[in-house]
Protein backbone atom coordinates (compact mmCIF):
# COMPACT_ATOMS: atom_id res chain seq x y z
CA UNK A 1 0.00 0.00 0.00
CA UNK A 2 1.13 3.53 -0.75
CA UNK A 3 2.87 4.75 2.43
CA UNK A 4 1.30 8.18 2.58
CA UNK A 5 -2.19 6.94 1.78
CA UNK A 6 -1.87 4.57 4.74
CA UNK A 7 -0.76 7.44 6.94
CA UNK A 8 -3.93 9.35 6.01
CA UNK A 9 -6.04 6.28 6.76
CA UNK A 10 -4.38 6.03 10.18
CA UNK A 11 -5.11 9.67 10.92
CA UNK A 12 -8.72 9.64 9.74
CA UNK A 13 -9.46 6.38 11.53
CA UNK A 14 -8.05 7.79 14.75
CA UNK A 15 -10.32 10.84 14.54
CA UNK A 16 -13.27 8.63 13.69
CA UNK A 17 -12.64 6.45 16.72
CA UNK A 18 -12.44 9.47 18.95
CA UNK A 19 -15.59 11.09 17.58
CA UNK A 20 -17.71 7.98 17.43
CA UNK A 21 -17.72 7.42 21.17
CA UNK A 22 -17.20 10.94 22.49
CA UNK A 23 -20.76 11.26 23.78
CA UNK A 24 -21.32 7.90 25.40
CA UNK A 25 -23.27 7.65 28.69
CA UNK A 26 -21.48 6.06 31.64
CA UNK A 27 -23.86 3.10 31.71
CA UNK A 28 -22.53 2.01 28.33
CA UNK A 29 -18.81 2.26 29.10
CA UNK A 30 -18.38 -1.42 29.87
CA UNK A 31 -20.49 -2.74 26.97
CA UNK A 32 -18.75 -0.31 24.63
CA UNK A 33 -15.31 -1.41 25.77
CA UNK A 34 -16.43 -4.97 25.19
CA UNK A 35 -17.89 -4.00 21.80
CA UNK A 36 -14.66 -2.37 20.65
CA UNK A 37 -12.86 -5.46 21.94
CA UNK A 38 -15.05 -7.45 19.55
CA UNK A 39 -14.31 -5.12 16.64
CA UNK A 40 -10.56 -5.62 16.87
CA UNK A 41 -11.36 -9.31 16.63
CA UNK A 42 -11.18 -8.63 12.89
CA UNK A 43 -7.53 -9.52 13.46
CA UNK A 44 -8.91 -12.99 12.66
CA UNK A 45 -8.99 -12.00 8.99
CA UNK A 46 -5.32 -11.06 9.05
CA UNK A 47 -4.46 -14.28 10.88
CA UNK A 48 -6.31 -16.30 8.23
CA UNK A 49 -4.39 -14.60 5.45
CA UNK A 50 -0.98 -15.27 7.03
CA UNK A 51 -1.81 -18.88 7.85
CA UNK A 52 -3.12 -19.29 4.30
CA UNK A 53 0.20 -18.10 2.94
CA UNK A 54 2.37 -20.04 5.37
CA UNK A 55 4.61 -22.78 4.01
CA UNK A 56 2.65 -26.06 4.39
CA UNK A 57 5.96 -27.90 4.81
CA UNK A 58 7.21 -25.78 7.72
CA UNK A 59 5.75 -26.91 11.07
CA UNK A 60 6.94 -23.76 12.89
CA UNK A 61 5.02 -21.52 10.50
CA UNK A 62 1.96 -23.72 10.75
CA UNK A 63 1.99 -23.68 14.55
CA UNK A 64 2.36 -19.90 14.75
CA UNK A 65 -0.35 -19.47 12.12
CA UNK A 66 -2.65 -21.85 13.93
CA UNK A 67 -2.14 -19.93 17.18
CA UNK A 68 -2.86 -16.65 15.40
CA UNK A 69 -6.12 -17.90 13.91
CA UNK A 70 -7.15 -19.65 17.12
CA UNK A 71 -6.60 -16.52 19.22
CA UNK A 72 -8.23 -14.26 16.63
CA UNK A 73 -11.31 -16.47 16.42
CA UNK A 74 -11.53 -16.59 20.22
CA UNK A 75 -11.27 -12.79 20.39
CA UNK A 76 -14.07 -12.34 17.87
CA UNK A 77 -16.42 -15.03 19.19
CA UNK A 78 -15.90 -14.27 22.87
CA UNK A 79 -16.11 -10.52 22.32
CA UNK A 80 -19.40 -10.93 20.49
CA UNK A 81 -21.07 -13.21 23.02
CA UNK A 82 -20.06 -11.14 26.02
CA UNK A 83 -21.11 -7.83 24.45
CA UNK A 84 -24.39 -9.25 23.23
CA UNK A 85 -25.18 -10.62 26.69
CA UNK A 86 -24.54 -7.28 28.34
CA UNK A 87 -26.53 -5.29 25.81
CA UNK A 88 -29.43 -7.74 25.90
CA UNK A 89 -30.21 -6.28 29.31
CA UNK A 90 -30.80 -2.86 27.88
CA UNK A 91 -33.80 -3.84 25.82
CA UNK A 92 -37.31 -2.62 26.57
CA UNK A 93 -38.45 -0.84 29.69
CA UNK A 94 -37.25 2.61 30.49
CA UNK A 95 -35.79 5.03 28.07
CA UNK A 96 -33.60 7.07 30.37
CA UNK A 97 -30.34 7.81 28.56
CA UNK A 98 -28.29 8.27 31.71
CA UNK A 99 -26.07 11.34 32.02
CA UNK A 100 -22.40 11.05 31.32
Amino acid sequence: MEGYAALYIFMLAAFTGYEVISRVPVILHTPLMSGSNFVHGVVLVGAMVVLGHADPEDPVQLVIGFIAVFLGAANAAGGYVVTERMLAMFKGGNKKEGGA
Binding site: I9, V26, V50, L87
Partner: protein, 459 residues
Protein backbone atom coordinates in the same frame (compact mmCIF):
# COMPACT_ATOMS: atom_id res chain seq x y z
CA UNK B 1 -13.70 -14.99 -6.67
CA UNK B 2 -12.35 -11.75 -8.00
CA UNK B 3 -10.03 -9.76 -5.82
CA UNK B 4 -12.11 -6.61 -6.23
CA UNK B 5 -15.03 -8.38 -4.58
CA UNK B 6 -12.92 -9.21 -1.52
CA UNK B 7 -11.63 -5.65 -1.30
CA UNK B 8 -15.13 -4.20 -1.68
CA UNK B 9 -16.39 -6.52 1.04
CA UNK B 10 -13.63 -5.42 3.41
CA UNK B 11 -14.57 -1.81 2.71
CA UNK B 12 -18.20 -2.43 3.60
CA UNK B 13 -17.13 -4.37 6.69
CA UNK B 14 -15.04 -1.41 7.89
CA UNK B 15 -17.98 0.96 7.38
CA UNK B 16 -20.35 -1.33 9.27
CA UNK B 17 -17.88 -1.65 12.16
CA UNK B 18 -17.79 2.12 12.56
CA UNK B 19 -21.57 2.41 12.32
CA UNK B 20 -21.88 -0.44 14.82
CA UNK B 21 -19.60 1.28 17.32
CA UNK B 22 -21.54 4.49 16.82
CA UNK B 23 -24.79 2.64 17.52
CA UNK B 24 -23.26 1.05 20.61
CA UNK B 25 -22.73 4.46 22.18
CA UNK B 26 -26.46 4.97 22.74
CA UNK B 27 -28.62 2.68 24.90
CA UNK B 28 -31.47 2.77 22.37
CA UNK B 29 -29.44 1.43 19.44
CA UNK B 30 -26.66 -0.43 21.28
CA UNK B 31 -28.11 -3.89 20.71
CA UNK B 32 -28.46 -3.30 16.98
CA UNK B 33 -24.87 -2.06 16.87
CA UNK B 34 -23.32 -5.28 18.10
CA UNK B 35 -25.54 -7.38 15.83
CA UNK B 36 -24.49 -5.36 12.76
CA UNK B 37 -20.86 -5.68 13.73
CA UNK B 38 -21.40 -9.40 14.20
CA UNK B 39 -22.75 -9.83 10.67
CA UNK B 40 -19.83 -7.80 9.34
CA UNK B 41 -17.37 -10.08 11.14
CA UNK B 42 -18.96 -13.21 9.71
CA UNK B 43 -18.95 -11.66 6.23
CA UNK B 44 -15.27 -10.68 6.54
CA UNK B 45 -14.34 -14.19 7.66
CA UNK B 46 -16.25 -15.92 4.87
CA UNK B 47 -14.91 -13.61 2.16
CA UNK B 48 -11.33 -14.19 3.35
CA UNK B 49 -11.62 -17.88 2.42
CA UNK B 50 -11.74 -16.73 -1.22
CA UNK B 51 -8.35 -15.02 -1.01
CA UNK B 52 -6.24 -16.22 -3.97
CA UNK B 53 -3.55 -18.85 -3.24
CA UNK B 54 -4.88 -19.72 0.19
CA UNK B 55 -3.29 -22.86 1.64
CA UNK B 56 -3.75 -24.78 4.89
CA UNK B 57 -7.51 -24.29 4.74
CA UNK B 58 -8.21 -27.41 6.79
CA UNK B 59 -5.97 -26.26 9.61
CA UNK B 60 -7.54 -22.80 9.36
CA UNK B 61 -11.07 -24.13 9.75
CA UNK B 62 -9.95 -26.25 12.70
CA UNK B 63 -8.41 -23.19 14.40
CA UNK B 64 -11.49 -21.05 13.79
CA UNK B 65 -13.91 -23.70 15.01
CA UNK B 66 -11.91 -24.63 18.11
CA UNK B 67 -10.98 -21.07 19.10
CA UNK B 68 -14.46 -19.79 18.38
CA UNK B 69 -16.16 -22.64 20.22
CA UNK B 70 -14.05 -22.32 23.36
CA UNK B 71 -14.64 -18.57 23.54
CA UNK B 72 -18.33 -18.85 22.64
CA UNK B 73 -18.94 -21.40 25.36
CA UNK B 74 -16.97 -19.51 28.03
CA UNK B 75 -18.66 -16.24 27.08
CA UNK B 76 -22.10 -17.79 27.35
CA UNK B 77 -21.49 -19.41 30.71
CA UNK B 78 -19.53 -16.72 32.54
CA UNK B 79 -21.35 -14.94 35.35
CA UNK B 80 -22.17 -11.26 34.87
CA UNK B 81 -19.89 -10.35 37.78
CA UNK B 82 -16.96 -11.99 36.03
CA UNK B 83 -17.46 -10.06 32.78
CA UNK B 84 -14.47 -7.71 33.19
CA UNK B 85 -11.91 -10.50 33.30
CA UNK B 86 -13.55 -12.16 30.30
CA UNK B 87 -13.23 -8.92 28.33
CA UNK B 88 -9.61 -8.81 29.48
CA UNK B 89 -8.80 -12.33 28.32
CA UNK B 90 -10.53 -12.00 24.94
CA UNK B 91 -8.69 -8.75 24.45
CA UNK B 92 -5.43 -10.45 25.31
CA UNK B 93 -6.14 -13.10 22.70
CA UNK B 94 -6.60 -10.39 20.07
CA UNK B 95 -3.24 -8.91 21.06
CA UNK B 96 -1.68 -12.35 20.92
CA UNK B 97 -3.11 -12.91 17.45
CA UNK B 98 -1.62 -9.62 16.24
CA UNK B 99 1.76 -10.56 17.69
CA UNK B 100 1.57 -14.03 16.13
CA UNK B 101 0.81 -12.48 12.72
CA UNK B 102 4.01 -10.45 13.00
CA UNK B 103 5.94 -13.51 14.15
CA UNK B 104 4.76 -15.51 11.16
CA UNK B 105 5.56 -12.71 8.72
CA UNK B 106 9.09 -12.58 10.12
CA UNK B 107 9.40 -16.37 10.03
CA UNK B 108 8.43 -16.33 6.35
CA UNK B 109 11.10 -13.71 5.72
CA UNK B 110 8.61 -11.67 3.72
CA UNK B 111 9.33 -8.37 5.45
CA UNK B 112 12.02 -6.36 3.73
CA UNK B 113 10.74 -2.79 3.52
CA UNK B 114 11.93 -0.85 6.61
CA UNK B 115 8.58 0.94 7.10
CA UNK B 116 6.73 -2.36 7.01
CA UNK B 117 9.29 -3.89 9.36
CA UNK B 118 8.93 -0.99 11.80
CA UNK B 119 5.16 -1.30 11.96
CA UNK B 120 5.39 -5.09 12.22
CA UNK B 121 7.78 -4.79 15.16
CA UNK B 122 5.62 -2.11 16.83
CA UNK B 123 2.51 -4.22 16.40
CA UNK B 124 4.32 -7.27 17.71
CA UNK B 125 5.56 -5.37 20.76
CA UNK B 126 2.20 -3.78 21.60
CA UNK B 127 0.31 -6.98 20.88
CA UNK B 128 2.62 -9.04 23.09
CA UNK B 129 2.32 -6.54 25.93
CA UNK B 130 -1.47 -6.58 25.55
CA UNK B 131 -1.46 -10.38 25.58
CA UNK B 132 0.64 -11.02 28.68
CA UNK B 133 -0.76 -7.93 30.44
CA UNK B 134 -4.32 -9.11 29.86
CA UNK B 135 -3.47 -12.57 31.15
CA UNK B 136 -2.19 -11.02 34.38
CA UNK B 137 -5.28 -8.79 34.60
CA UNK B 138 -7.44 -11.87 34.13
CA UNK B 139 -5.54 -13.79 36.81
CA UNK B 140 -5.92 -10.92 39.26
CA UNK B 141 -9.62 -10.35 38.74
CA UNK B 142 -10.32 -14.07 38.75
CA UNK B 143 -8.52 -14.32 42.07
CA UNK B 144 -5.85 -16.69 40.77
CA UNK B 145 -3.21 -14.10 41.52
CA UNK B 146 -3.99 -12.59 44.91
CA UNK B 147 -1.22 -10.15 45.69
CA UNK B 148 0.20 -7.24 43.80
CA UNK B 149 3.69 -8.32 42.86
CA UNK B 150 6.29 -5.62 43.01
CA UNK B 151 9.97 -5.88 42.23
CA UNK B 152 12.54 -3.73 43.97
CA UNK B 153 13.17 -0.67 41.79
CA UNK B 154 10.17 -1.66 39.73
CA UNK B 155 10.13 1.50 37.60
CA UNK B 156 13.81 1.10 36.81
CA UNK B 157 13.30 -2.54 35.80
CA UNK B 158 10.33 -1.51 33.64
CA UNK B 159 12.34 1.12 31.82
CA UNK B 160 15.38 -1.14 31.44
CA UNK B 161 13.30 -3.94 30.00
CA UNK B 162 11.43 -1.57 27.69
CA UNK B 163 14.70 -0.13 26.37
CA UNK B 164 16.19 -3.59 25.87
CA UNK B 165 13.09 -4.74 24.00
CA UNK B 166 13.16 -1.61 21.85
CA UNK B 167 16.83 -2.20 21.00
CA UNK B 168 16.10 -5.77 19.92
CA UNK B 169 13.14 -4.49 17.90
CA UNK B 170 15.41 -1.98 16.21
CA UNK B 171 17.92 -4.72 15.45
CA UNK B 172 15.14 -6.68 13.73
CA UNK B 173 14.13 -3.64 11.70
CA UNK B 174 17.62 -2.82 10.41
CA UNK B 175 18.58 -6.42 9.74
CA UNK B 176 17.54 -7.75 6.33
CA UNK B 177 17.25 -11.31 7.54
CA UNK B 178 16.90 -11.25 11.34
CA UNK B 179 17.95 -14.51 12.97
CA UNK B 180 15.29 -16.60 14.61
CA UNK B 181 17.11 -16.33 17.96
CA UNK B 182 16.78 -12.56 17.79
CA UNK B 183 13.09 -12.77 16.97
CA UNK B 184 12.34 -15.28 19.73
CA UNK B 185 14.27 -13.21 22.28
CA UNK B 186 12.36 -10.10 21.21
CA UNK B 187 9.00 -11.79 21.75
CA UNK B 188 10.05 -13.26 25.11
CA UNK B 189 11.12 -9.83 26.35
CA UNK B 190 7.97 -8.15 25.02
CA UNK B 191 5.79 -10.71 26.80
CA UNK B 192 7.80 -10.28 30.01
CA UNK B 193 7.38 -6.51 29.72
CA UNK B 194 3.60 -6.80 29.61
CA UNK B 195 3.54 -9.10 32.62
CA UNK B 196 5.91 -6.98 34.66
CA UNK B 197 4.10 -3.73 33.87
CA UNK B 198 0.74 -5.15 34.95
CA UNK B 199 1.59 -7.28 37.97
CA UNK B 200 2.17 -4.48 40.52
CA UNK B 201 -1.09 -2.75 39.64
CA UNK B 202 -3.75 -3.05 42.31
CA UNK B 203 -7.24 -4.33 41.69
CA UNK B 204 -8.86 -0.90 41.98
CA UNK B 205 -6.91 0.33 38.97
CA UNK B 206 -7.66 -2.74 36.86
CA UNK B 207 -10.53 -1.25 34.82
CA UNK B 208 -8.22 1.47 33.53
CA UNK B 209 -5.56 -1.10 32.69
CA UNK B 210 -7.97 -3.37 30.81
CA UNK B 211 -9.25 -0.42 28.84
CA UNK B 212 -5.70 0.67 28.05
CA UNK B 213 -4.72 -2.82 26.93
CA UNK B 214 -7.86 -2.88 24.78
CA UNK B 215 -6.67 0.28 23.04
CA UNK B 216 -3.22 -1.33 22.70
CA UNK B 217 -4.61 -4.36 20.94
CA UNK B 218 -6.50 -2.06 18.59
CA UNK B 219 -3.26 -0.31 17.66
CA UNK B 220 -1.42 -3.61 17.23
CA UNK B 221 -4.16 -4.86 14.91
CA UNK B 222 -4.01 -1.61 12.95
CA UNK B 223 -0.23 -1.88 12.50
CA UNK B 224 -0.37 -5.50 11.42
CA UNK B 225 -3.13 -4.43 9.01
CA UNK B 226 -0.58 -2.17 7.36
CA UNK B 227 1.95 -5.01 7.20
CA UNK B 228 -0.62 -7.21 5.46
CA UNK B 229 -1.94 -4.38 3.28
CA UNK B 230 -5.42 -4.93 4.66
CA UNK B 231 -7.36 -1.66 5.12
CA UNK B 232 -10.18 -3.35 7.09
CA UNK B 233 -7.68 -4.28 9.81
CA UNK B 234 -6.15 -0.81 9.72
CA UNK B 235 -9.46 0.99 10.04
CA UNK B 236 -10.99 -1.31 12.67
CA UNK B 237 -7.75 -1.46 14.66
CA UNK B 238 -7.04 2.25 14.70
CA UNK B 239 -10.67 3.18 15.40
CA UNK B 240 -10.58 0.88 18.44
CA UNK B 241 -7.16 2.23 19.41
CA UNK B 242 -8.46 5.79 19.42
CA UNK B 243 -11.81 5.09 21.05
CA UNK B 244 -10.13 2.84 23.61
CA UNK B 245 -7.72 5.61 24.49
CA UNK B 246 -10.61 8.03 24.98
CA UNK B 247 -12.47 5.49 27.10
CA UNK B 248 -9.35 4.96 29.21
CA UNK B 249 -9.08 8.70 29.79
CA UNK B 250 -12.74 8.90 30.81
CA UNK B 251 -12.23 6.10 33.33
CA UNK B 252 -9.00 7.50 34.70
CA UNK B 253 -10.73 10.86 35.10
CA UNK B 254 -13.59 9.23 37.01
CA UNK B 255 -11.01 7.85 39.43
CA UNK B 256 -8.90 10.97 39.40
CA UNK B 257 -5.84 8.85 38.70
CA UNK B 258 -3.73 9.98 35.74
CA UNK B 259 -2.81 6.98 33.58
CA UNK B 260 0.87 7.51 34.32
CA UNK B 261 0.10 7.17 38.05
CA UNK B 262 -1.77 3.95 37.46
CA UNK B 263 1.25 2.41 35.80
CA UNK B 264 4.13 3.90 37.74
CA UNK B 265 2.80 4.44 41.28
CA UNK B 266 0.21 1.77 41.89
CA UNK B 267 -2.00 1.98 44.98
CA UNK B 268 -0.94 -0.65 47.43
CA UNK B 269 -2.29 -1.43 50.86
CA UNK B 270 1.09 -1.33 52.52
CA UNK B 271 1.84 2.22 51.47
CA UNK B 272 -1.65 3.39 52.34
CA UNK B 273 -2.92 4.18 55.80
CA UNK B 274 -0.62 4.48 58.76
CA UNK B 275 0.63 7.95 58.05
CA UNK B 276 -1.72 10.83 57.41
CA UNK B 277 -4.98 11.62 59.13
CA UNK B 278 -5.84 9.62 62.22
CA UNK B 279 -9.34 8.21 62.03
CA UNK B 280 -11.33 8.75 65.23
CA UNK B 281 -14.43 7.10 66.60
CA UNK B 282 -15.61 3.52 66.72
CA UNK B 283 -17.57 1.25 64.44
CA UNK B 284 -21.13 0.84 65.65
CA UNK B 285 -23.02 -2.32 64.93
CA UNK B 286 -26.65 -2.47 63.79
CA UNK B 287 -29.05 -5.38 63.64
CA UNK B 288 -31.14 -6.30 60.63
CA UNK B 289 -34.26 -5.31 62.59
CA UNK B 290 -32.85 -1.84 63.32
CA UNK B 291 -31.92 -1.42 59.66
CA UNK B 292 -35.38 -2.55 58.54
CA UNK B 293 -37.21 -0.11 60.77
CA UNK B 294 -34.97 2.85 59.99
CA UNK B 295 -35.49 2.31 56.26
CA UNK B 296 -39.19 1.45 56.48
CA UNK B 297 -39.97 4.76 58.19
CA UNK B 298 -37.64 6.88 56.09
CA UNK B 299 -39.01 8.97 53.27
CA UNK B 300 -36.03 8.58 50.99
CA UNK B 301 -33.46 5.78 50.82
CA UNK B 302 -30.43 5.74 48.56
CA UNK B 303 -28.85 2.36 47.89
CA UNK B 304 -25.14 2.46 47.07
CA UNK B 305 -24.14 -0.90 45.62
CA UNK B 306 -20.54 -1.97 45.19
CA UNK B 307 -18.73 -4.94 43.83
CA UNK B 308 -19.25 -6.80 47.12
CA UNK B 309 -22.98 -6.87 46.44
CA UNK B 310 -22.41 -8.22 42.95
CA UNK B 311 -20.03 -10.93 44.14
CA UNK B 312 -22.58 -12.04 46.72
CA UNK B 313 -25.15 -12.12 43.90
CA UNK B 314 -27.40 -10.02 46.13
CA UNK B 315 -28.71 -7.60 43.49
CA UNK B 316 -31.99 -9.52 43.11
CA UNK B 317 -32.57 -9.49 46.87
CA UNK B 318 -31.69 -5.82 47.04
CA UNK B 319 -34.18 -4.99 44.31
CA UNK B 320 -36.82 -7.10 46.09
CA UNK B 321 -36.19 -5.08 49.25
CA UNK B 322 -36.34 -1.83 47.32
CA UNK B 323 -39.71 -2.77 45.83
CA UNK B 324 -41.01 -3.72 49.28
CA UNK B 325 -39.95 -0.35 50.68
CA UNK B 326 -41.56 1.44 47.75
CA UNK B 327 -44.85 -0.33 48.42
CA UNK B 328 -44.63 1.19 51.89
CA UNK B 329 -44.28 4.65 50.37
CA UNK B 330 -40.52 5.03 50.71
CA UNK B 331 -38.72 6.62 47.77
CA UNK B 332 -35.80 4.37 46.79
CA UNK B 333 -33.00 5.33 44.43
CA UNK B 334 -29.73 3.69 43.45
CA UNK B 335 -26.55 5.75 43.49
CA UNK B 336 -23.75 4.47 41.28
CA UNK B 337 -20.15 5.54 41.40
CA UNK B 338 -18.51 5.69 37.95
CA UNK B 339 -16.10 2.90 38.85
CA UNK B 340 -18.45 0.82 40.98
CA UNK B 341 -18.00 -2.79 40.06
CA UNK B 342 -14.85 -3.51 38.18
CA UNK B 343 -15.42 -1.22 35.22
CA UNK B 344 -17.42 1.92 34.56
CA UNK B 345 -20.98 0.92 33.85
CA UNK B 346 -20.46 -2.61 35.18
CA UNK B 347 -22.80 -1.96 38.11
CA UNK B 348 -25.50 -0.60 35.79
CA UNK B 349 -25.32 -3.84 33.84
CA UNK B 350 -25.60 -5.91 37.02
CA UNK B 351 -28.58 -3.90 38.28
CA UNK B 352 -30.24 -4.07 34.87
CA UNK B 353 -29.84 -7.84 35.07
CA UNK B 354 -31.75 -7.82 38.37
CA UNK B 355 -34.53 -5.78 36.75
CA UNK B 356 -33.90 -2.36 38.28
CA UNK B 357 -35.31 0.28 35.89
CA UNK B 358 -32.88 2.92 34.61
CA UNK B 359 -34.87 5.84 36.02
CA UNK B 360 -34.06 4.70 39.57
CA UNK B 361 -30.32 4.67 38.89
CA UNK B 362 -28.39 7.90 39.39
CA UNK B 363 -24.81 8.81 38.59
CA UNK B 364 -22.47 10.47 41.03
CA UNK B 365 -23.01 13.95 39.56
CA UNK B 366 -26.76 13.56 39.57
CA UNK B 367 -27.14 12.52 43.18
CA UNK B 368 -24.21 13.86 45.17
CA UNK B 369 -25.85 17.19 46.03
CA UNK B 370 -28.97 15.39 47.30
CA UNK B 371 -27.37 13.31 50.04
CA UNK B 372 -28.17 15.77 52.89
CA UNK B 373 -31.87 15.30 52.01
CA UNK B 374 -31.62 11.53 52.03
CA UNK B 375 -32.72 9.81 55.22
CA UNK B 376 -30.85 6.57 54.81
CA UNK B 377 -27.90 5.74 52.60
CA UNK B 378 -27.55 1.97 52.41
CA UNK B 379 -24.02 1.02 51.34
CA UNK B 380 -23.78 -2.58 50.19
CA UNK B 381 -20.37 -4.00 49.47
CA UNK B 382 -18.89 -0.64 48.45
CA UNK B 383 -15.92 0.79 50.24
CA UNK B 384 -13.35 3.02 48.59
CA UNK B 385 -15.93 4.89 46.52
CA UNK B 386 -17.65 6.17 49.70
CA UNK B 387 -14.50 6.84 51.71
CA UNK B 388 -14.54 10.50 52.83
CA UNK B 389 -10.76 10.35 53.20
CA UNK B 390 -10.68 11.00 49.46
CA UNK B 391 -12.02 14.51 50.18
CA UNK B 392 -9.96 15.32 53.26
CA UNK B 393 -6.68 13.45 53.58
CA UNK B 394 -4.03 14.70 51.17
CA UNK B 395 -1.69 11.82 52.01
CA UNK B 396 -4.22 9.17 51.08
CA UNK B 397 -3.59 7.38 47.79
CA UNK B 398 -7.21 7.92 46.85
CA UNK B 399 -7.14 11.65 47.72
CA UNK B 400 -9.01 13.63 45.07
CA UNK B 401 -10.99 10.71 43.72
CA UNK B 402 -14.63 11.79 43.39
CA UNK B 403 -16.69 9.86 45.91
CA UNK B 404 -20.37 9.47 46.69
CA UNK B 405 -20.97 11.75 49.66
CA UNK B 406 -22.98 9.22 51.65
CA UNK B 407 -21.49 10.50 54.90
CA UNK B 408 -23.69 13.58 54.42
CA UNK B 409 -26.90 11.55 54.50
CA UNK B 410 -28.91 11.59 57.74
CA UNK B 411 -28.13 7.95 58.44
CA UNK B 412 -25.70 5.58 56.83
CA UNK B 413 -26.00 1.81 57.01
CA UNK B 414 -23.06 -0.20 55.72
CA UNK B 415 -23.58 -3.84 54.88
CA UNK B 416 -20.21 -5.51 55.07
CA UNK B 417 -18.85 -9.02 55.45
CA UNK B 418 -16.27 -8.20 58.07
CA UNK B 419 -14.18 -5.46 59.55
CA UNK B 420 -11.37 -5.46 56.97
CA UNK B 421 -10.25 -2.64 54.75
CA UNK B 422 -11.42 -2.15 51.15
CA UNK B 423 -10.18 -3.65 47.90
CA UNK B 424 -7.33 -1.17 47.76
CA UNK B 425 -6.49 -1.87 51.40
CA UNK B 426 -7.29 1.64 52.63
CA UNK B 427 -9.02 2.21 55.97
CA UNK B 428 -12.47 3.78 55.55
CA UNK B 429 -13.21 6.80 57.74
CA UNK B 430 -16.91 6.56 56.92
CA UNK B 431 -17.35 3.51 59.16
CA UNK B 432 -16.28 5.51 62.20
CA UNK B 433 -18.66 8.43 61.67
CA UNK B 434 -21.40 9.15 64.20
CA UNK B 435 -24.21 8.73 61.68
CA UNK B 436 -22.89 5.41 60.41
CA UNK B 437 -23.99 1.93 61.51
CA UNK B 438 -22.50 -1.37 60.43
CA UNK B 439 -24.67 -4.30 59.44
CA UNK B 440 -22.32 -7.29 59.34
CA UNK B 441 -22.96 -10.33 57.21
CA UNK B 442 -22.91 -11.40 53.60
CA UNK B 443 -25.00 -9.05 51.49
CA UNK B 444 -27.31 -11.88 50.46
CA UNK B 445 -28.20 -12.95 54.02
CA UNK B 446 -28.23 -9.48 55.56
CA UNK B 447 -30.69 -8.16 53.00
CA UNK B 448 -32.82 -11.30 53.28
CA UNK B 449 -33.11 -10.67 57.01
CA UNK B 450 -33.96 -7.02 56.43
CA UNK B 451 -36.71 -8.11 54.03
CA UNK B 452 -38.16 -10.44 56.66
CA UNK B 453 -38.22 -7.66 59.22
CA UNK B 454 -39.72 -5.13 56.83
CA UNK B 455 -42.50 -7.61 56.04
CA UNK B 456 -43.06 -8.15 59.76
CA UNK B 457 -43.38 -4.38 60.24
CA UNK B 458 -46.10 -4.28 57.58
CA UNK B 459 -48.39 -6.76 59.28
Amino acid sequence: MANWFIQASYFIVAVVFILGLKAMSSPVTARKGIVWAGYAMVAATVVTFFTPDLHNVGLMVLAIVSGGAVAWWSGKTVKMTDMPQMVAIYNGMGGGAAAAIAALEFARGEITDPVVATLAVLGALIGSVAFSGSCIAYAKLQGIMKNAFRLPNQNLVNIGLAVLTAVLGLAIIVSDTPSSTLIVLFFVLALALGAILTSPIGGADMPVVISLLNAFTGLAVGFEGYVLGNPALIVAGIVVGASGTLLTQLMAKAMNRPITNVIFTPISGAAAGGEGEVIEGTMKEFSALDAASVMRYASKVAIVPGYGMAVAGAQHKVWEMAQLLEEGGVEVVFAIHPVAGRMPGHMNVLLAEAGVPYDKIFDLEEINADFPQIDVALVIGANDVVNPVARTDKTSPIYGMPILNVDMAQNVIVVKRGKGAGYSGIENALFYKDNCRMLYGSAQEAIAQVITHVKALES
